[in-house]
Symmetry: C2
Subunit: 317 residues, 2 copies
């Protein structure tokens, strides 16, 4: 096809630990992939170099043509200006940084578009994943924290602060568990892996035995640790997942009620690992809060780890 | 101006007890107003007659030209098709009814547009009231219940079920007070006058004295009753208004957090009566839940009782 040979489309998922990139084909599928570690030294300029290297590697195998690069980055993004305004999860990014311009320069004038990583994840699910054909979608990504993104009328909503979708910081239990951000009762404190781990260790320290700490060894409680603990019938794990499902139910129902949305996609490391059964429970929890007769589907994300890079590529497709 | 002489623009606020209409001038101000009772007999066709009569009266004094009528109606509206899909507060409307077509016919082919009453209220505040110049606005209307409407990018969001904005039915206190809709812990149970009255009578029956019942006599606790009770330092009234402010804070903060909105307009009978001090307290409650540095204003609605009719006129302006 003319489009595919005239342009080389690359999507980059910039994470706190790795830079993962794909080159996409004419159908938006993965033609090639590559990754490297996110440099812990060197701040934004070091990251620009690392991204540029991944891009060059991916571009090598391409048929040529204009190079277009989309980047999904964690934090608050000004998409219009290509600026990462705040990125607490990237090492050494203490100030707003014009990632778009710096990367375009490093790549000899390639066109570069940047957006929030959660936004591009939803974009991918909407175009080539679980939410195809739906214009109005809420995306909820359950991992270490809980991220969200909103598509309305087929377009991602970004908002004047570039902060649309922060569903993790909705209050679901007034005065409840303390969130990583310092707030009380936020969804993320109940349904994010970090908050759930804090709570599990608290419960254990008050005499509630759990296999979670043992399975985690001296490390973090990964999604796989939670999955195994549930499979073993661990009371604490089951109880905390129940709480997470309930909290997701309240928060998602609130958003669906205010925006009248027909579809919610639930993804992220924890949801992917726990699978369709978990998402089905979330769907039931949401529905139990809605008016009878409201049509709503809550479906599992389909693209897993690749959603970010695929969605980033869609920014420039 | 050419526009004003070529067309006669009329806005109708269809309520459960009265039909209130305005003819607007070229600047969107009120050129004439008229009202009649909403007929309790005759169902939808009776209402069509009542609206048509108000429209004819308003049109009489106009310079002529094409007649255009906007209607704000309570309930679930399919704006594209001019259908009132459900209107529990209108007598005898047990089925979906094509109000737009019926009214156009009764008015000899006038063009008619219908929308939800809360939507048109926000439209009026956005165009000629408290939210002028802002494209992204949440409107919250606190009266017997709590209604909401959402404007994004300068356009009202309606949603596939025509139910966008139902902020009154967000859960703010899981397992909390029972809402008129049967749900638990909804905003409306804490901040709607009907829910607050139920709670006040409950508290009184358990030995908490209050002047609210006395002020209400054998009738409903109107906004003026609440205002007077607070002025007299009534403990129950003050406590319930505190709860309402807190609940509005949680619900509005949730919506603002997910949609990244810069402005919220708070109106409706109770908010209008309690005035800017009440809205200022709501603003503080919302801000206390947001990330530091988020720019957000919560402002009182400016158009009072006329917002519905003025907004309805804007549907056809």
């Amino acid at each position: 096809m003319a489009g595919s040979s005239a342009e080389t489309i690359i999507g980059i998922d910039l994470g706190g630990t790795k830079v993962y990139g794909v080159r996409t084909d004419a159908d938006g599928g993965v033609a090639a992939e590559s990754k490297s570690k996110t440099p812990v030294q060197g701040g934004p300029l070091g990251v620009v170099d690392a991204i540029a290297e991944v891009v060059r590697e991916l571009a090598e195998g391409a048929t040529g043509g204009r190079l277009r690069v989309g980047v999904g980055a964690p934090g608050v993004i000004d998409t219009d200006r290509g600026v990462v305004r705040a990125a607490p999860n990237l090492p050494g990014w203490s100030e707003p940084f014009g990632l778009g311009e710096a990367l375009a320069e490093a790549l000899d004038g390639a066109s570069v578009v940047i957006d929030n990583d959660v936004n591009v994840g939803l974009l991918a699910e909407a175009r080539v994943g679980a939410a195809q054909g739906e214009d109005d979608v809420l995306g909820v990504f359950v991992g270490t924290g809980v991220g969200g993104a909103v598509m309305l009328g087929g377009k991602l909503r970004r908002g004047p602060h570039g902060m649309t979708g922060e569903i993790g910081h909705i209050v679901v239990h007034p005065g409840g568990r303390t969130c990583g951000c310092g707030g009380r009762g936020h969804l993320e404190a109940y349904a994010g892996r970090a908050g759930m781990e804090r709570r599990a260790r608290e419960l254990e320290s008050t005499g509630r035995p759990t296999v979670l700490t043992e399975l985690a060894k001296a490390k973090r409680m990964t999604s796989s640790v939670w999955d195994k603990a549930i499979a073993q019938g661990d009371d604490v794990a089951i109880h905390l997942i129940d709480d997470a499902v309930e909290a997701l139910g309240y928060a998602i129902a609130g958003v669906v009620t205010v925006l009248d949305l027909p579809l919610v996609v639930v993804g992220g490391g924890l949801a992917d690992r726990l699978g369709p059964r978990f998402v089905g429970r979330v769907e039931q929890a949401v529905r139990s809060q809605l008016f009878a007769g409201t049509r709503l589907r809550v479906v599992p994300a389909e693209l897993g780890d690749r959603a970010g890079a695929l969605g980033a590529a869609l920014l420039v497709t």
